[in-house]
């Protein structure tokens, strides 16, 4: 077996183990939440008997380790469980499967993330490479100043500034991104434009600055001097000699930001009332809808681990020492 494949499989196994530990942490963290679903639904006036009966029905009376085993066992079989919401103490059960609740929301979040990433990553790379090429120039300084500004502003502020500029003053985009499963594709894109733009401004800065730094870091290497002394043009020097050795740090920062697009968007979703998974999780936490909270947290953790795994693999396959061992 090729050593790279072995390494990748090892990393994948490590990822699964990490995910297992994360599930333990998620479960214990949720345990620490004050109160539970029964108290949240029944309110303070409920009698102890009613609460106890409702708990028994939901299975909340079992010891924590048994509930964990039940949960993780079901998850491993692909069953995220039933949501608590829709169930009441009277025994009426109008609850929905967690997967059905999360599905459309996750789809929306991934749509927004993908739409942002498709523009942000190429843009960041382009800006990073060109600023490294013309470093010290007016162009370099302007790009750096702008990205520093956007990276320094809290994203809700960026969001409101964009609403001010592109909704109130110049009505170009809608301020509410109220989409659902039936919204046609281009209308979706149009309605998601402002949240996507907000996210773009936040993540491009980070990725662009890292790309620029990774390339400039290499420009002092003897092999870059050698490339210059071969009479290659500055653009060739950067694209052919610096960039291939800079992929590892760039892949890491890109993965970090893509993960952020999935797990860190809740503020932007709230501002634009975008029906994504971040909002769902926050709502579920306040309602103590534990199965949904746990499922969301697990999806977030999985996203992080998967994207970092991809970044690791990129670092490995762009390193000739690992790709072509002696």
């Amino acid at each position: 077996m090729h050593p790279i494949l072995t390494t990748v499989l090892q990393r994948l196994a490590m990822g699964v183990i990490t995910l297992f530990f994360v599930s333990l942490i998620i479960f214990s963290a949720v345990e620490f939440l004050p109160g539970d679903f029964t108290e949240a639904i029944l309110g303070q006036s409920a009698t102890d008997e009613t609460v106890a009966a409702f708990r028994a029905e939901l299975g909340l009376d079992k010891p924590a380790y048994l509930r964990y085993i039940d949960w993780i066992g079901a998850v491993m079989q692909g069953d995220l469980g039933q949501s608590f919401s829709g169930r009441s103490a009277s025994g009426v059960d109008r609850s929905r499967a967690v997967a059905d609740l999360i599905g459309p929301r996750l789809h929306n979040t991934l749509f927004l993330a993908l739409m942002t990433a498709l523009v942000a990553v190429p843009l960041a790379l382009f800006l990073g490479i060109t600023t490294a090429l013309w470093r010290g120039s007016f162009y370099d300084r302007s790009v750096n100043a702008v990205t520093l500004t956007t990276i320094s502003m809290p994203e809700f502020l960026v969001a409101y500034l964009l609403i001010l500029l592109l909704v109130s003053l110049n009505p170009v985009f809608p301020s509410l991104a109220n989409i659902d499963a039936d919204t046609p594709f281009w209308e979706r894109v149009y309605k998601s434009a402002l949240p996507a733009l907000t996210l773009l401004l936040v993540i491009v800065a980070h990725m662009m600055r890292m790309t620029r730094a990774a390339i400039i870091n290499l420009l002092a290497s003897p092999y870059i001097e050698m490339a210059r002394l071969k009479g290659l043009s500055p653009a060739t020097v950067i694209l052919r000699h610096a960039l291939p050795n800079a992929w590892a740090p760039i892949a890491n920062v890109v993965a970090f930001n893509l993960a952020y697009l999935v797990v860190g968007v809740v503020v932007v979703e709230v501002v634009f009332v975008y029906p994504g998974i971040g909002q769902l999780m926050v709502d579920s936490v306040s309602a103590r809808d534990i199965p949904v909270v746990q499922a969301c947290a697990l999806i977030f953790a999985g996203t992080y681990i998967l994207l970092n795994l991809i970044a690791d693999i990129v670092s490995i396959v762009t390193n000739p020492r690992l790709l072509h061992p002696r």
């Binding site: 420009l219 003897p222 092999y223 001097e225 050698m226 071969k230 009479g231 290659l232 052919r240 050795n245």
Partner: protein
Amino acid sequence: MSDPLLHIKDIHIDGFSDERWHKIIKGVDLTLHRGQVLGLIGESGAGKSTLGLAAMGFARPGCRLTRGGIWFDGEDLMQASESRKQTLRGARIAYVAQSAAAAFNPAHRLIDQTIEATLRHGLRPGDDAAEDAKALYAAMDLPDPETIGLRYPHQVSGGQLQRAMTAMAMSARPDLIIFDEPTTALDVTTQVNVLAAMKDAVDRFNTAAIYITHDLAVVAQMADRIKVLRHGEEVEEADTRDMLTNPKHPYTRSLWAVRALHKPSLREDDTILSINNVTASYGTAPVLHDVSIRVPKGRTVAIVGESGSGKSTTARVITGLLPPLKGAVQFHGDTLPPALKDRSRDQLQQIQMIYQMADTAMNPRQRVSEIIGRPLDFYRGLKGKAQAQEVARLLELIELDDSFADRLPGELSGGQKQRICIARALAAEPELIICDEVTSALDQVVQEGILKLLLRLQDDLGVSYIFITHDIATVEAIADEIVVMHQGKVVEQGPKEDIFAPPHPAYTELLLSSVPTMDPDWLEKVRQT
């Protein structure tokens, strides 16, 4: 004679450091005709590389060409546009860097890098250039010339990379090649072959070259003329043979003098340290095989061999950093615990170490008084005033005045740093000091000072040295006994005169015959045998 290929007149180059511009080159003239090889020698910081790069109209970042003229084949490079200079670089003027391992891009195959300049400048079609590169690899005596180009830089050895880089410079058939210390990073046994290959290539294509080095014996083999630089100024220039036999300037003569240092070896039967049948490995990779070495009291044992021969590993076994798999280290007849952590403070005190890179062997945030004071406190319990007095005494011993006590390592020159490291080792009052390539990173004149200091300290204090080195001239200067190591084994051990006198075991023969001498015909003679 026809017009010179390269003419540099009164060139001035500034470098930016410590927030201001310094003069690096102060008005140097240089003339080079087609097919000629000029040797540029001098100590580090003399401006050799800067001048070499200026011949390509190139200034490193943080440097600038301020005044003077550079004419390449009649064209004024000081006035030429950047894009015009780009068309010359790699096509008509090529560069061979000091460390091929660093100058090859790790991300591309050798062949792609070898013919890159040729292709970019549109000199030949790709297939043609690739075939030619293979021929050049063969001419450079590289193994598997047909396929070696498909490898990545990390897949070939340092000596092979250096030859591949010469092939890379040759690919475009330039009129001029700048060789910037191309063999400095190589072992002597490798260096001979690389030198021979480079000389062949230069002769065959009648290429002019500037050969930059600090090694006189090497420049004697390569150059028709030699120019000596110091502090950015020319000291003198003459034909190689004239320069070698009759150096005019006192500075040049001082460069020549270092190689003449010779210490007669003394015998001593009293053993201070013995290594008995030691076998050691890093993980599963075996490094030392059944190594036995005896160190006589108050004498110097030089361990010589090329990189990877196990010299430094032997030092790690002696100090306990690497416990051996088999065998033992005895000090005054008592077996030392194999691992460092099991040794008593007394045992630690007896054996001290000095390293190659004085820079990295000192904490840059500690003043000299702390660096030397720490072992004084740790081993001898000296504190406060007594410690300060002892630091002053040690500084005097290493020929520095006590104002150095307040300095930081960054405020010292290379030679001074190494002296402080010597003082730190002496502070423990050890009986044995292991010197690991302590002069390799220093200029020749500074080397001479350090070697003389070490000899004097041995006379005064009776300390024994284990001197690890790859440089035969250093061995000549300091050793009483020699241990020759190769591939983790001891080839032979004995008094210096015996080892240097024939007959030799095969490896010793190879090692000794690979050391360049000041005879300009040496390389020719070696190649014929």
